[in-house]
């Protein structure tokens, strides 16, 4: 057993350990119920979200995102972590659509002409568009848009 063989074996074990560890601690983006952008619970199916919105008489916030979009990261790390924003979001039913893999959200994305991330669309429970935020908006403007969206529904 040379030191190099030993070192190689140690590194191999470490690498296997790293692989297992990192795979199991990675933050869950979505499971069979929700997708978790910025740590919030978002629906992925527009029908589900709209049905719930009808039931609870709430507006819907649609968030178009992708894994690689830097401004989405900003939203998720900052805006969605803010207490005031979270309070307003409680008044909404949340719907997140991954533009790379829209699934059931495909037709809605086409309807909203959402062809690049990030985009937010505020709509009523019967799909009337209230307002639209294309691209990145500063936090206070984002908050005031959400607040006026609740009032307008």
């Amino acid at each position: 057993m040379t030191p190099r063989k030993l070192l190689t074996i140690v590194v191999l074990i470490a690498v296997l350990g790293f692989g297992y560890y990192s795979m199991n601690t990675a933050p869950v983006l979505s499971d069979h119920d929700y997708t978790y952008q910025g740590g919030l619970e978002w629906h992925e199916d527009p029908d589900e979200a709209l049905a719930l919105a009808q039931q609870e008489d709430k507006p819907v916030l649609v968030y178009y995102w992708t894994t690689w979009c830097t401004y989405c990261q900003n939203y998720e790390d900052e805006h969605y972590q803010d207490e005031d924003v979270r309070d307003v979001l409680d008044e909404y039913v949340l719907l997140a659509i991954n533009l790379d893999d829209p699934g059931p959200g495909m037709s809605l994305a086409a309807e909203h002409e959402a062809n690049y991330p990030p985009q937010h669309v505020l709509m009523t429970a019967d799909e009337q568009e209230i307002s639209r935020l294309g691209g990145y908006t500063e936090q206070d403007q984002f908050l005031s848009e959400l607040e006026s969206g609740v009032d307008d529904q």
């Binding site: 190689t8 590194v11 560890y21 401004y71």
Partner: protein, 779 residues
């Protein structure tokens, strides 16, 4: 493949596929039988395949330059308004063109080894056979998905004989000088890796068959190819980073986007391989790992290509969307299996146990430390491979999607980089034969590194901002100070410098000095780059401001001065200008060009050389040609001798029962003289809104220049040109959205951005010096 889609270009590729297959089979036969039959035929076949690919590639480039839109690939990736440089860029903008270029370069390298007298011996034939076999696979892929597919075949709805008047245009993000060179050098780097792959595979096949391996005879040439490949690949990654920095508009040059990560993997493997082969050449160590690593780089390149082209891993590189050829997946499976299985099988079943450790060898020997450094590269490569793969694997297995953010790559890689720097520094000092001093110094630096990890003058110094519920490793590494990269990097750079000085002292050979200079530049450059990369993102600042009414600053209007909120900045905006591409003068066709394309509505320019009235319609001949203007409602007036630009519906000459080939029906709204063209009716491809900005911090000017936003009307896409003011300590970066109404401008700072470029430049100089020095020593 229908017969009408077999164009001349596709035929050339088919010829190359046939000829390279013949050459590969003949070479394999000659290898197996160890005979010299068919030598002339082999050479001819290899030559023909290379020549047809070179001609096909040249022909495709020509089609792009002249804008022949009867080909779907040309139509999709270029347009009339683009300059020559970006027309050539279009050749590589998508899958088919890139693969053709890759195949062409590979064929050139492989055929060169067939013709050269330097590569003899039985194994050489197998190496050449494998290389040409890969060329054949590429060519077969290209025949089934050809860049020379006629537009009627690609889009069956197009009417027969239809010639599109203009191309669909290049992806706006690719209209950038850095992107013009990024794809060609990337594929040039890839092409140089195929022969090392074939050589590594052949080496193990020869060992299994009990023949003499040609690996050692080829090794000098191979090291040079690997070095040139490393030079090109490094440059390619850097150019991609510079492009992202300037064009994507968020000021970053690296975001662990899947494609960036994917291309980093072959780069790390290539770096590890160069280290291992370097040792092998000198001392015979790494007898299995060196050839195995040479063989593994190419499958990793294929893996990277799969990531870029597949859509399984989404990223900003989804430029080449659409299915990736099954050929690529086939190549990945075959090459990956071969490169992994052969060395592994040999190691398990055939290899003699490593020579027994001499009793004198200590545990912390020269060799072991070197091995530790090489392993660091392998571990870094694995971190990237795993980060790309496990979300896909896990999603496929359980349907649960997990996110792998930048933290995964940054925080796992960081300790490995620190370890690698310490090991590399220790190795350089051990070379000086001052063993105890070397170990003591390394231990001291390791302790200082640990202490530095706790020094955080402000919140910016933390490597990441982990949440309390994040995994332990993220919290441990994330809460360390970035200052901890400085001691190991300084130690590493210092050790290599000391080693350099002591080695060249008293050695007269200039080639040796050049070689050592190359080595020291590589390592010092790497240390500088690592430090700069660690710091740049943690200390960025950003402030933004909205400026209304920038349109009023046009044509020497009064500049607008605004204070930027929450900052010390003041910004002055002036000289708003909007530039249209193409301008109406450039977009208007000559009469001859109108007849060549199928267009319902044409924009035409020419001198009126004759006027007539036919069936109560005023008509005017342009440039004495068969194209006439016709007044559709009597409002247009035609005067002989004036040069006009007119837009109108095109009808054939029969509509007015005359000799003319075509009439362009226009009216006064759609016609004007050359001095006063009807600009309102012209829709450009792109409108660029440009402003001059000057930024002051307090009373000091920190940036001055122009910034712009381009609106691509047809692609419904905007790009932003940032103003980047480079400085010794960092860049001031001004970017934003601009149009006539107003601008929303961000002012950002990126400290140490230029030290990244400095470090990389030193590395590129180093590898060049090393390659040149070795070339001189041998010749």
């Amino acid at each position: 493949m229908s017969p009408e889609s077999l164009t001349i270009g596709t035929l050339l590729i088919a010829l190359a596929a046939f000829a390279s297959s013949v050459a590969a089979v003949l070479l394999l036969y000659r290898y197996l039988t160890n005979s010299d039959d068919f030598q002339r035929l082999t050479r001819a076949a290899a030559g023909i395949s290379t020549l047809s690919l070179v001609v096909a590639h040249g022909y495709l480039t020509y089609l792009f330059v002249v804008g022949d839109y009867t080909y779907a690939y040309v139509w999709q990736n270029t347009a009339d308004y683009l300059s020559l440089l970006y027309r050539i860029t279009g050749v590589y903008a998508n899958h088919e063109g890139s693969i053709l270029f890759w195949a062409t370069l590979t064929a050139v390298v492989a055929t060169w080894t067939v013709y050269s007298s330097r590569f003899r011996g039985r194994g050489s034939r197998l190496v050449q056979s494998i290389s040409l076999g890969i060329v054949a696979i590429f060519s077969i892929m290209l025949v089934s998905q050809s860049p020379f597919t006629p537009i009627e075949t690609a889009f069956p709805d197009t009417p027969s004989g239809f010639v599109p008047p203009d191309g669909d245009g290049l992806n706006p993000l690719l209209v950038d000088p850095w992107m013009a060179i990024h794809p060609p050098i990337t594929f040039a780097a890839y092409a140089l890796l195929i022969v090392p792959f074939a050589l590594g595979i052949t080496h193990f096949v020869s060992l299994f068959r009990g023949e003499e391996s040609v690996f050692d005879q080829w090794i000098h040439s191979m090291i040079q190819w690997l070095r040139i490949s490393w030079l090109l690949l490094t440059a390619s990654i850097v150019f991609g980073g510079i492009w992202a920095y300037g064009v994507l508009g968020w000021g970053g040059f690296w975001s662990w986007d899947p494609v960036e990560t994917a291309v980093l993997i072959p780069w790390l493997a290539l770096t590890a391989s160069l280290h291992a082969i370097n040792r092998y050449e000198k001392t015979g160590e790494y007898a299995i790992f060196a050839p195995a690593s040479a063989a593994l780089i190419f499958p990793l390149v294929i893996f990277a290509t799969t990531v870029v082209r597949s859509g399984v891993f989404r990223s900003v590189h989804s430029f080449a969307a659409g299915g990736i050829g099954t050929g690529i997946l086939f190549l990945l499976a075959v090459t990956g299996t071969l490169a992994l299985a052969l060395p592994l099988a040999y190691w398990l079943f055939k290899s003699e146990d490593e020579t027994r450790r001499p009793a004198t060898e200590t545990w912390l020997s020269h060799r072991t430390v070197y091995h530790g450094a090489v392993l660091s590269f392998a571990v870094l490569a694995f971190i990237s491979i795993w980060g790309l793969s496990f979300p896909v694997l896990r999603h496929a297995a359980t349907g649960v999607e997990v996110s792998v953010g930048q933290d995964h790559y940054n925080l796992w890689s960081y300790p490995v980089v620190v370890f690698g720097l310490l090991a590399g520094g220790l190795y350089a000092l051990l070379d000086l034969r001052r063993r105890r001093l070397a170990i003591a110094a390394t231990a001291a630096v390791a302790i200082v590194t640990l202490l530095a990890a706790f020094i955080t003058p402000s919140a910016n110094w933390y490597l990441a901002s982990p949440n309390p519920h994040d995994p332990l490793v993220y919290r441990l590494v994330g809460n360390a100070s970035v200052l901890s990269i400085v001691p190991p990097a300084a130690f590493f750079a210092g050790s290599w410098t000391v080693r350099y000085v002591s080695r060249i002292r008293g050695v007269p050979s200039r080639a040796f000095k050049l070689r050592e200079t190359g080595i020291v530049l590589l390592h010092v450059g790497a240390a500088i780059m690592i430090v700069a990369v660690s710091f740049v993102y943690l200390f960025t600042t950003s402030a933004s401001v909205a400026v209304v009414g920038v349109g009023e600053t046009a044509n020497g209007g009064e500049p607008i001065v605004e204070d930027v909120p929450d900052s010390e900045y003041t910004i002055e905006v002036s000289n708003y200008e909007s530039v249209e591409e193409p301008s109406i003068e450039d977009a208007a066709r000559s009469p001859a060009a109108v007849l060549e394309v199928s267009e319902d509505v044409s924009l035409v320019r020419g001198e009126i050389t004759d006027t007539e009235t036919i069936e109560n319609t005023a008509v005017a001949q342009l440039d004495e040609s068969d194209v006439w203007l016709a007044s559709s409602d009597g409002s247009a007036s035609f005067d002989i001798g004036t040069e006009v630009i007119a837009r109108g519906t095109v009808f054939s000459g029969d509509s007015l029962d005359s000799e003319a080939a075509a009439y362009v029906y226009t009216d006064s709204q759609n016609m004007g003289s050359l001095e006063d063209p009807p600009t309102d009716v012209h829709e450009p491809r792109m409108v660029s809104h440009e402003i001059d900005v000057t930024v002051y911090e307090g009373d000091t000017q920190v940036a001055q220049g122009s910034m712009a936003e381009q609106e691509y009307l047809r692609a419904e896409m905007n790009t932003n040109d940032a103003l980047i003011e480079r400085g010794i300590t960092g860049d001031t970066y001004v970017v934003g959205q601009v149009d006539e109404g107003g601008a929303s401008i961000s002012i950002e700072t990126y400290p140490l951005a230029n030290q990244i470029w400095t470090g990389v430049t030193l590395m590129l100089l180093g590898i060049t010096a090393l390659t040149v020095a070795d070339h001189r020593r041998k010749s």
